[in-house]
């Protein structure tokens, strides 16, 4: 189910502007990789290149390699739609489809792709996905209600259920807790711990404690100045990063002596 991604010499551009420069990193399978760094340093941009969501923006493109199990995500003839089915994504703000019920939201990946599914199979998929997202017990009696009737934390877990219902290999999370209260955040973090058994997870976060709590490896991004591209400064095991980072900038950022 889960795969590793090897990224080498990756550059990301918005038109003429180079947003992220020269990233080389390995994302291990069945582990949580956290990306930290100041705002505007290209963490989210980099994350979005991993499922080719980046190129939704006009004029954006990528050079370099991102190889998932021997297959270059940016190789010739690779369909971005197929990549996105293998690499799911959870966004900063919960975004359930407002026209769909909770049930239909979980099945959105199936329904929007016009695939047919037996009612029993669909029911099973909804239950397993919602259970996987720790939401089943809270919503099982009101599956036909609109997704927007849930609380913010529940909506975010619904979005996670929706992402894992298409059975991806990798799950990208772009600040999944930044719009949530501490209790919902805790629920999501526990969920990330469980999902690690089956999925490769990459999470962007501004919350250093969160990175320390949930991740196995941490990468620190930084930017030399406005208009300069973001770079990966250092990447190591989370425990090492937070106790004895090898670069001074990392230590400054983590200990709050940044800038």
């Amino acid at each position: 189910m889960s795969k590793r991604i090897d990224i080498s010499d990756l550059n990301v551009f918005y038109g003429d502007f180079k947003a992220v420069e020269d990233i080389t990193m390995a994302i291990e399978s069945r582990s949580v990789t956290a990306l930290i760094g100041p705002s505007g340093c290209g963490k989210s941009t980099f994350l979005r290149t991993l499922n080719r969501m980046h190129e939704v923006i006009p004029g954006a493109y990528v050079t370099g390699k991102a190889v998932m199990d021997g297959q270059d995500l940016y190789g010739p003839g690779v369909d971005p739609v197929v990549v996105r089915r293998q690499v799911g994504m959870v966004f900063q703000r919960p975004n359930p489809f407002p026209t769909m019920s909770i049930y239909d939201n979980v099945l959105a990946g199936v329904k929007l792709n016009n695939r047919r599914m037996k009612k029993a199979d669909a029911d099973d998929l909804v239950e397993s996905s919602l259970t996987g997202a720790n939401l089943w017990s809270e919503v099982k009696d009101r599956l036909d209600q609109p997704g927007s009737s849930l609380s913010g934390g529940q909506q975010q877990r619904l979005c996670i259920a929706r992402a894992i219902a298409v059975r991806p290999d990798v799950l990208l999370m772009d600040e999944p807790c930044s719009a949530l209260d501490p209790i919902s955040t805790l629920a999501i973090e526990e969920l990330i711990h469980q999902l690690k058994q089956d999925y490769t997870i990459v999470i962007v976060t501004h919350n250093m404690q969160q990175a320390a709590r949930v991740s196995d490896r941490t990468g620190f991004f930084n930017i030399a100045g406005t208009g300069k591209p973001g770079r990966l400064i250092e990447m190591d095991d989370t425990a090492t990063m937070f106790s004895s980072p090898s670069v001074q900038a990392t230590e400054d950022y983590i200990s709050g002596r940044f800038g």
Binding site: P58, R84, L112, N113
Partner: protein, 348 residues
Amino acid sequence: MTTVATSAENRIRRLPAWAPWAILAASMALAAGILALGQGPTIAGVLLIGALLYVVAITAVSRAVEGHRYAKDRLATTLVTAAFLIAMVPLVSLVITVVVNGIGALSLDFFTTDMVGVFGQDPGGGAYHAVIGTLYVVGIAALVSIPLGIFTAIYLVEYGGGRIKRAITVLVDVMTGIPSIVAGLFAYSLFLLIFGPAYRSALVGGVALAVLMTPVVVRSVEEMLRLVPNELREASYALGVPKWLTILKVVLRTSIAGITTGVMIAIARVTGETAPLLITVGLANNVNYDAFDGRIATLPVYVYRQYSQGGASVDRAWAAALTLIVIVMALNLIARLVSRYFSPRGLR
């Protein structure tokens, strides 16, 4: 002790709820009195002078009792309410006039007979043929311009960029301003070139109305598509849904209520067009079920023709005008129901 004193000072003296009404009544009475001294009061005169007196009086009274901040609020409220009432006057007056004049000649016969054998100022006759004709012409216009407009709007919002997009936007804006008679002449000469002279049919009228309707549809659908949050598109892409399915099942589905309303309003607008139909489809006395050949009657042209004949024809004109208004209002009502039915659940 000090806190009690402060709260007493902070308490605001307000006018009682009946005060504005009393002032309004007094203003009107005063206006009637003033006019009675002159040439005698008329309804319009009393309302106009009474309203002006009321604006001054309510502001002055409020300033004396409540202070200048509340006085400004009263003044603004009064002006905004007055603007609303003034805007309502022509609408209500028009509806009342048409209903009063039109209801008399309206009968089942009116909707089942045409004008064959009814000459000049004879009584009898009906608008069955004109209702059919209007449905034909507007139906053709809708058939052409709804898909054209929606696809253009999708191109502009989802695909287009750079120079082509800007060119289309400008052209659509220019098209919105085309005088309806020019659209009629365009359709007339287009079919003149293809089918030769003396070709008249509902099709020509439909094309003329489509020229007027398409830009309206494009603009309203474009606005609606832009309202769909980008997050929903991204959520769909991230699930591995191709772009065209995302547009079809997420973007259009989310904005279907607004699109329906916009399209219905566009239809309602062209339903009352007279000038282009006068040129392109002319007028007939009999029912023409063939949309591709021959003159056909439409309600606006029918009204125009009947009214210019005088006598009993004027009653038919009023009845047909009422029919036209009812059709347009029914379309608006349907649009509202549809948009309510489709609007995203939980946001209602």
